[in-house]
Subunit: 157 residues, 2 copies
DNA sequence: AATCAATTCATACTTTAGTATGAATGGTTT
DNA sequence: AAACCATTCATACTAAAGTATGAATTGATT
């Protein structure tokens, strides 16, 4: 709490005035009940209670909010789309040639050997040999397995 | 809450001093105007100050901390792999049966018809008929095409 | 009870896939 | 120049895939 803050000043002044008024009141009461001397303890107790309440009120009014920081971690999912990153390493690891890779790609698109041959302007036997070497290098037995592995290795899309 | 953080204590003290000064001022005014002084009033004032302090202390001690929530957004990249959402609609659209779908799934994993038969404890001809009907329904000619379409339609993973 | 769809199996057949082997060409490396 | 690799093509063969047709069974529906 900054004591210098205007509001607090105001409140302090108000408090002072209230205090003065209270004291005057007490004085008045004292004069009024001057005779009753035994009431002193009660009077003191009343003052104690009154000013305890005043203190509590002051404290609550003037004290700074006690900050209890609550950190809430908000999870933001970053939807990283599975972009195709061509895996050169896998290709060189298996020693695949360009044509073999090309044939594998077309195989994965569901083309028959004949269709691949037509597409690449090659003969059917050529595609077959490419296929065979491909399977040998990838250590698979069928084109479906080759396609599966090729997609897993990200050497075809 | 930290009981009376130093700053609050300090401010409370300052308040006490101010209060004391005010009281002294009043007292001085009282003396100045030749009003009869009673030790009782000083006593009452002391009680007042004391219990005001007690009230402040009590308030600080017992008041609940005012919670100020501070939300900190923490970006957490969740590597959400493209989750497979099975496409029921496509299946019903093409009128595929359970077995046909099952066979297609195994085809996509690179299994031969014989291997699929072994896996499902069926005969080779059964797998072939499932395959044929599958291709007919999907309007494809080869298993590789069926697998491609199946993955595109999200009816197999 | 009859019908229908799904499932299973079989047999016979055609087509495609895949293997084995050999060979020719062109470019690169040693 | 020789060796090597990638590429191409061919032939002959085996294996697998796919088609056509028919039939039996089962569970659900009409």
């Amino acid at each position: 709490m900054t004591l210098g803050n205007l509001n607090n000043y105001k409140e302090t002044l108000i408090y002072g005035v209230v205090l003065a008024v209270l004291l005057v009141l007490l004085r008045w009461l004292e004069l009024r009940f001057l005779i009753i001397t035994h009431a002193f303890e009660i009077y003191a107790a009343a003052i104690a209670v009154l000013f305890t309440g005043l203190g509590i009120w002051l404290a609550l009014k003037l004290s700074k909010p006690k900050i209890q920081t609550q950190i809430i971690e908000k999870v933001i999912e970053v939807p990283q789309q599975p972009q195709f990153v061509f895996n050169k390493q896998a290709v060189s690891k298996f020693g695949l040639s360009c044509r073999e890779l090309e044939v594998l790609q077309l195989m994965s698109e569901g083309l028959s050997n004949q269709e691949i041959a037509d597409h690449l302007f090659l003969s059917l036997p050529t595609i077959k040999t490419h296929g065979s070497r491909l399977f040998e290098k990838l250590e698979v037995r069928r084109r479906t397995q080759a396609v599966e592995l090729g997609k897993k290795l990200a050497i075809i899309r």
